[in-house]
Symmetry: C2
Subunit: 462 residues, 2 copies
């Protein structure tokens, strides 16, 4: 066939793809995440990649994001068609850029078919026209859970999120991590009690949210730029510097509450925080995995109560590896109903990219096979096929090598794909109902009766 | 909050989504399919949803499909920006409409990082501007496997495809099915030996491929319309009417081969078919699950050898539930290299839609939880949380009901989600370290010591 000249077959900028060993790592992580999500009763859904543009843009939903509109392209032989397969131009559509607008639309679409509190997970791809640098992707997978109530929603769901985060990152085994918990009502109440104007509070919260990035001095400067008085600024700095273990901080906050001007948001937020912390403890989350951090606010304006970030200790520069919080006004968008929710999100594509780069995770072997049945002689193929099927029925992943090549080449082929074991059956072994089982990692080779092969392999492979 | 008026929050036409019980069915099927794919050593990859338009359109790849181009849409507050985040208009991009172009591009992109024969699976979403009717979707999931070789590829890979199809549909348990196998070389050779012109052969193959849909009389008419002589037409009809068990047909084909004008394609195709059938038998595929069907051709022009269709017996109107074949010229598109491949594809979204509609499959329960720990008294919540965590650690999916409501309402809530078991712990039970375990399906209720609860539940559920 003729080579197609001048076609650039590389992926479009920002749209990356995995090699098999990387994809297998993603699948492995998705399995862990899914198992934990489901163990808490979260049920899977998936919303279409494409939504109506007016849905994605409702109420300023698009935010700062560049999103991708879609437009039908007729094939060359159908350019004359007018109706574009019913693809009326009036129905503008675009790729979803996150899961929050879609979940709001999903609930509006299926309100009477769902059971509330509705606890769902999604592990879908989302699309953003991000500048393709700084490890940002234009297509990436997010693993989200949210519980959504009608009218009200217990704070224990907030607590449960911490248990879920803890189980996931413990299972992934990437080292020590801390879930930093705060409460936006308490933050807001604190700013109110200082006499800071309502229209300044969100900016102030945004500024202290950057504490870790920019440091105390810069936070001070930015607050003063915002028109906050030096006295107020000092109080804010004192506030976000409240540190210690969870009980210390709760004590200090209670004292602070007494000294503050009467403020119901502050005390409500503090009570919420205490309830969440009690829940986290009752759920058995180890103390080392959670902390109160008064500078955590999550930039997103929709959070109204509990907020979380998760830091990988020793790798703080990675930023939060799992974040989320409580919101009130998000899901009811299309329904005129109060539907409070609490959720967390793992930006899996970005996380994998960073953990691979930092050497915290490694890609898996490129093949899921544990065993290669090598081909010593074409005429023994019926036996190779039969043995392969026996092993598969025992739950072992097997590649049968169909091409007769020098044995060393076949071992190489297995090794290159990370397949640890080779089953070798020559005519003598076949006649005796035996095989040689070679472990490519150690070079060891043992003789095994064919009927014992599955058991032996499971023992070796674990 | 104010309701957003006039926003149509329905999914865009042709972009459907699942309710939880449907999505859980899809996840269940994907797990089965994945397990079987991996047991044969197929490794997962995923290519981006978006490719360069020139890649999707190379060599007429777009075919008859309406595809979706993507265009960045700036947020309202960034309309003034010129660079559109580096989204140069010169780089036209579109959503992939199948997995064949992307796998060709993937192999071209990663040729030196992959091991050949390269056996991969993909279960990605693809996008087509189909007329949104007749159970067609504009976004749908395809489960594809292909093995791709460099230069050559053993016919045993073709045989293996039948074993994989058999295992998947046996595991899904949807009733009896038959994989109908044919060989395009043999078909082509047969038409050549009748003296039919090369430029007519593809049309002829297309016509007999419709035998099942249009019947013999119509096939005859269409062939004659194509300019095939009555004598040739009769020979074609006799040919596609060759039926019987696999050995009968192979015998008849051998006899036919002797009576035909010397034709190497016919005998090569027949030898290939025999080799594949022998492989299928050696792989232990039960005889009832495969047949030779000389009218199967697969419309797609790229198939060059073995072709498969899979029919669900008693539900022939569903059409083929898994199809595929051998091709030579597909994957090398971007590389000027001979890369023969063989693959099969399950159009999962369409299959689920049809199997649900036909009542062959049912959606699963809407919750993955097996157990609800009900809330009898808020003050016992620490015990409920602890018990829930114990059960989760034992591998049981648990919803803890945080809201104290009448017991009947809580049972209803569990039942509505298909959660079969409720754990009831009142103050007396708590004091005695006991619980009542209620099976909502039977109404039976037994007393179980808390430390035995996980074991008991696994016995009931497992």
């Amino acid at each position: 066939m003729a080579k197609i000249d001048k076609i650039n077959f590389s992926t479009p900028s920002g749209f990356t793809e995995y090699l098999p060993g990387e994809k297998r790592l993603e699948v492995y992580l998705l399995d862990i995440i899914r198992r934990v999500f489901e163990s808490y009763g979260f049920t899977p859904i998936e919303t279409p990649a494409v939504e109506r543009l007016e849905v994605l843009q409702a109420k300023g939903n698009q935010g700062d994001n560049i999103i991708y509109g879609i437009e039908p392209i007729l094939p060359p032989n159908r350019q004359a068609e007018k109706d574009r397969s019913g693809e009326a131009g009036s129905e503008a559509r675009a790729l979803k850029f996150d899961q929050t607008v879609p979940i709001a639309a999903y609930i509006a679409r299926h309100l009477n078919e769902l059971t509330f509190p509705f606890a769902r997970y999604q592990m879908d791809m989302v699309f953003r026209g991000e500048r393709a640098k700084d490890g940002r992707f234009r297509q990436f997978r997010q693993c989200d859970i949210d519980v959504i109530g009608r009218g009200k929603l217990s704070l224990l769901y907030d607590a449960q999120m911490s248990a879920i985060i803890t189980e996931i990152f413990t299972a992934i085994n990437i080292g020590d991590f801390v879930i930093r918990i705060n409460n936006r009502k308490m933050l807001t109440g604190f700013f109110q009690s200082l006499g800071i104007a309502e229209n300044q509070i969100k900016s102030c919260i945004g500024i202290i949210d950057n504490l870790e990035k920019i440091g105390v001095t810069k936070v001070k400067q930015e607050l003063e730029k915002e028109g906050i008085s030096p006295e107020q600024t000092q109080k804010i700095i004192d506030f976000i510097k409240i540190t210690g273990d969870v009980d210390d901080i709760l004590d200090k906050l209670k004292h602070l509450g007494e000294s503050l001007a009467e403020n119901s948001a502050f005390s409500l937020g503090l009570t919420e925080l205490e309830t969440v912390i009690t829940g986290v403890r009752n759920l058995g989350v180890p103390a080392k995995h959670f902390a109160i951090d008064l500078s955590i606010a999550r930039g997103l304006n929709y959070y109204t109560g509990t907020v979380y970030e998760t830091t990988l200790l020793g790798h703080e520069s990675l930023g939060s590896i799992c974040s989320g919080g409580r919101y009130e006004e998000l899901v009811g968008t299309f329904l005129d109903e109060k539907m409070p929710g609490v959720g967390i999100s793992i930006g899996l594509t970005r996380l994998i990219s960073r953990l691979l780069k930092a050497g915290i995770l490694n890609q898996l072997s490129s093949s899921p096979a544990q065993v290669m049945v090598v081909n010593m002689q074409d005429n023994l193929m019926p036996i190779y096929l039969q043995v392969s099927q026996q092993l598969r029925q025992a739950g072992i992943n097997v590649i049968t090598n169909f091409d007769q090549r020098p044995l060393g080449k076949q071992f190489q082929l297995a090794d290159k794909q990370g397949i640890p074991l080779c089953v070798i059956i020559g005519s003598e072994e076949a006649a005796a109902g035996k095989s040689s089982l070679k472990d490519l990692r150690t070079g060891e080779q043992v003789e095994v009766m064919l009927e014992d092969l599955a058991k032996e392999i499971k023992q070796i492979y674990g």
